[in-house]
């Protein structure tokens, strides 16, 4: 039942016109009468006890309307894992201790930004410095002090996965290798710095406009930290200038804005600077990954032991989910008869690591795919052939974890081999030229409910009107990926009306139906898409009887919704315009509006996700053997995202993934010293510019995901993962230098070539 004019079409995003004319509003664009400006005092020390805070000078400064410290707040701990309260380890403002440089200690609201910043500088804090731990080895060493008293040896949590007989697998293996990989932390570097504006509302209620991926989660956690009923808190997301996982929690400034708005009776706005974002913001987990893998001599995978230490920084943040998912990504691509995973999330005195595009996959897959390439080399098997031998297929089961309901992995491998000219180029012996492959699998949203929501995972309300238009209300959250357009395409395809006929209200927790867990883990198209479809189908059930009644149709007729009409498929003349049909239904209902609610919650879908995407990527590089400089010449991608709802949006996601994957592989890195981030500008923290991006060619493999709306599943998040291992393999092919610790920098290449001493 796919409408090719809508499903799979390259429809320009419906918000693009607002964005190209500068009319689209982002949170920092808002201002309100009487609005105050907020600023935050952060810890200058990585680990210290707070002895005393004196805010008297700050309070006395003219123009300052409020100053708060942890002592003024209800001191309710929060974290996204509500299901496991002991994992909720953050307070809105520090009370006894600070745990990283940048930990939030106090906040000011003043008449203007300059006064707020001056007041922050007048707050006096006396600290007693404690030993700092800046890597997982030091933090877990015998005798290390505890960053959180509740943790065991600074391990905040451990996750295990185990299936099959590991011992037997390794015993049977002809070829076993064990490697340690190190991957680094990187920044989300969304272009819009975080911004939040809170305004007091009547009856002690509060409204928060905020740049977020998760309005519902922010609503719930903000209510609990303020000590208010959830319904007293309204969260509205305007346009959000990217998130990539970095805006998926309650943030301290959201609390401070709301808390001070309630205290002062005035709107309060906080907007972060780029230096705040880079120095103190969330980041992707750095990890130390020890992987042992066993193969038969003809290349069949027999067993894998995957042991990961995650550098979590000062708080759990989204670390628990990353720890769990990392283990799944370690064994999602291939058939492993036996697999064991142990992931330990370690506290260190650094800015907390959180969710970031891939959510554990870029790290796990850099290790797993690099190891696959190493094994292929040793076994004398072509890397693509080795993958084809072991690849997952539709119907495969990951024991006790998941069933793969659609899988185009083998087709992706075959296609990328063909389109890249792999077989010929791999034999090329041009100095400095290399070609390499990397693959990925990813989830289409999570089935887990660590947030412990009582509501459905995704919801939608559809209203239709006698003028032939519709209104879609959903909490699903477009942060730039295009879900506001894609969800309207899904509704338009169901109702047979044009996308331009659909008004959308999204991401307002007081108006849109409860609930939606937000944008992360590539969940929106599948989950919110299914919710929209369900609501649309209910609307259709209200309209179909009208056609049957009016035209006295035989029961065997089927009704079509197409081209703004509702009609019998067999007798297209028997039908009405969509609006007229709504009008007639409305009359029959004595004026009761046509409104329907739809929802989606994954059930009986294993432990991870209802659907999995797959793909393969090939990188071609040229390495300058004198300077070690790596130039990526071209990227080829074949991927299985099910049925793409919007082809142009999928391409955009893919190209954006390559940008982020290439940065991860070659240029992005935090330079840190004793817990301090030293590169806090875009001049020093380098993301790829238009000049750095290679040309890219891509193909979507034709599959149909039965669980997804119109056959769709994840697109564009998983794709951030194969780029680094593909480039690393290409560099190995070009130079013989095998990178096991990202990023791949010129000095490392020169060391690998023996031209530079370590």
């Amino acid at each position: 039942m796919k409408n090719p004019a809508i499903i799979g079409a390259s429809i320009p995003r419906l918000d693009a016109r607002q964005k190209v004319t500068g009319q689209a509003l982002y949170t920092d664009d808002l201002t309100m009468p009487g609005m105050l400006h907020g600023a935050i005092l952060r810890s200058p020390l990585p680990h210290a006890r707070i002895k005393r805070i004196d805010v008297s000078k700050a309070k006395a400064l003219a123009g300052v309307k409020d100053v708060i410290t942890g002592q003024d707040t209800p001191q309710v701990k929060f974290g996204n894992w509500r299901l496991v309260p002991q994992s909720q380890d953050e307070l809105p403002l520090a009370v006894d201790k600070v745990r990283f440089i940048g930990d939030e200690v106090a906040a000011v609201a003043a008449l203007d930004k300059e006064t707020a910043l001056r007041a922050v500088a007048l707050i006096e804090v006396e600290y007693e410095e404690l030993p700092g731990y800046f890597n997982v080895e030091d933090a877990t060493a015998e005798g290390a002090g505890l960053i959180h008293a509740e943790s065991e040896g600074n391990v905040s949590l451990a996750r295990k996965i185990k299936y099959g007989d590991l011992e037997a697998g390794f015993a049977q293996a002809d070829y076993v290798r064990e490697d340690t990989f190190r991957v680094h932390a990187v920044s989300h570097a969304y272009l819009e710095p975080c911004s939040s504006l809170a305004a007091p509302d009547e009856g002690g209620r509060v409204t928060l406009w905020t740049s977020t991926q998760v309005p519902y989660i922010v609503q719930c956690l903000l209510a609990s930290t303020l000590g208010l009923p959830e319904n007293h808190v309204r969260v509205i997301k305007l346009n959000t200038g990217g998130g990539f996982g970095g805006k998926m929690e309650l943030r301290k400034w959201e609390f401070c804005a709301a808390f001070m708005a309630l205290r002062t009776g005035r709107p309060v706005k906080f907007t972060l600077s780029r230096a705040d974002e880079l120095a103190f913001g969330r980041r992707r987990h750095g990890m130390t990954i020890r992987s042992k893998v066993g193969f038969s001599k003809n290349g069949l995978l027999l067993a894998k032991d995957f042991d990961v230490l995650l550098d979590g920084g000062a708080y759990n943040s989204m670390g628990p989910t990353a720890t769990f998912l990392c283990g799944n990504f370690g064994a999602m691509l291939y058939r492993y008869p036996a697999y064991r995973y142990l992931g330990r999330h370690v506290y260190t005195n650094k800015p907390p690591a959180g969710a970031m595009r891939g959510f554990g996959a870029p790290q796990a897959l850099f290790a797993a795919e690099t190891q696959m390439n190493m094994a292929a080399h040793d076994l004398g098997i072509d890397p693509i052939d080795l993958r084809l031998m072991n690849a997952m297929e539709t119907g495969d089961e990951i024991p006790e974890v998941a069933t793969i309901s659609s899988c185009g992995f083998k087709e992706s491998l075959v296609k990328v081999r063909e389109m890249s000219g792999w077989d010929v180029k791999r034999q090329e012996k041009r100095p400095g030229y290399g070609i390499g492959v990397g693959c990925y699998s990813f989830i289409s949203g999570g089935v887990f409910n660590w947030f412990n929501t009582k509501y459905n995972f995704a919801s939608a309300e559809v209203r239709v009107f006698e003028d032939g238009t519709a209104h879609l209300l959903t909490m699903a959250t477009d942060i730039g990926q295009g879900s506001d357009t894609v969800l309207r395409q899904i509704l338009a395809a169901e109702l047979g009306i044009g996308v331009e006929k659909i008004r959308l209200t999204a991401s307002d927790t007081a108006i849109t139906p409860k609930a939606d867990l937000g944008t992360w883990g590539s969940r929106v198209t599948l989950m919110a898409g299914n919710a929209v479809r369900q609501a649309a189908q209910k609307i259709k059930e209200m309209l179909i009887p009208v056609v049957f009644g009016h035209f006295d149709l035989n029961q065997i007729h089927d009704i079509a919704f197409e081209g703004d009409r509702v009609f019998s498929k067999a007798r297209p003349d028997k039908g009405f315009g969509f609006g007229e049909c709504v009008y007639k239904a409305l009359k029959g209902r004595r004026g009761e509006p046509l409104t329907a609610f739809g929802a989606y919650t994954p059930r009986n879908k294993g432990l991870v996700s209802p659907a999995f995407s797959f793909g393969a990527q090939v990188a071609e590089v040229e390495v300058d053997r004198q300077t070690g400089l790596i130039q990526v010449k071209k990227m080829y991608t074949a991927h299985d995202c099910g049925v793409p709802i919007n082809k142009m949006a999928v391409e955009g996601q893919l190209e954006g993934s390559i940008h982020m994957g290439l940065g991860y592989a070659l240029m992005e890195d935090f330079v840190m010293k004793d817990g301090r981030t030293l590169n806090t500008t875009f001049l020093d923290y380098k993301i790829a510019t238009a000049l750095d991006m290679p040309p890219s060619e891509s193909v979507e493999i034709d599959t149909y995901e039965p669980e997804g709306p119109f056959g769709a599943k994840e697109a564009g998040e998983g794709l951030v993962s194969p780029t680094a291992p593909a480039i690393a393999e290409a560099v190995f092919h070009a130079t013989g230098y095998r990178c096991a610790d990202l990023p791949i920098t010129p000095p490392k290449v020169l060391q690998g070539l023996g031209r530079l001493k370590a």
Binding site: D15, R17, F682, A690, P695
Partner: protein, 163 residues
Amino acid sequence: MAKQTIEITVNGDRYEVAIDPWRSLAEVLREDLRLTGTKIGCNQGDCGACTVLINGRSVSSCLTLAVEAHQREVTTIEGLAKTPQELHPIQEAFVEKGAVQCGFCTGGMIMSAKHLLDKNPQPTELEIRQGLSGNLCRCTGYNKIVEAIGDAARRLNPAKEGQ
């Protein structure tokens, strides 16, 4: 320090504003004139989201003091199209080619593209990439933006088509 009164023409409208002399053009556009299409992504001149034209030349408005725009003509993203009903060909191309995702860099990108195409109506792909190298985008990987600007160049110079 005393406030200073500046006269600026923005998108054809003349304004007289009294401002602290240290304030950036980006701040004055956004906060005083309420033209919020100009974005502040870094406030350090690195990301290009605040790009506007002063007398036809592109500048990072976060690194430009508002007083420097005194008695000059400023064009922001809000003033690029001739009328509110129509789009400039660069804007049209950005919409149709999928060059927009989160949209935060978009205004600055388009203003840099405008400056580039004014100087060089038929840029090569490399020249387009060079022209955009001061504008960061985290969503698109730039390819669709580059494509849109090439397309806009063709729309702006239809006569050259097929040469």
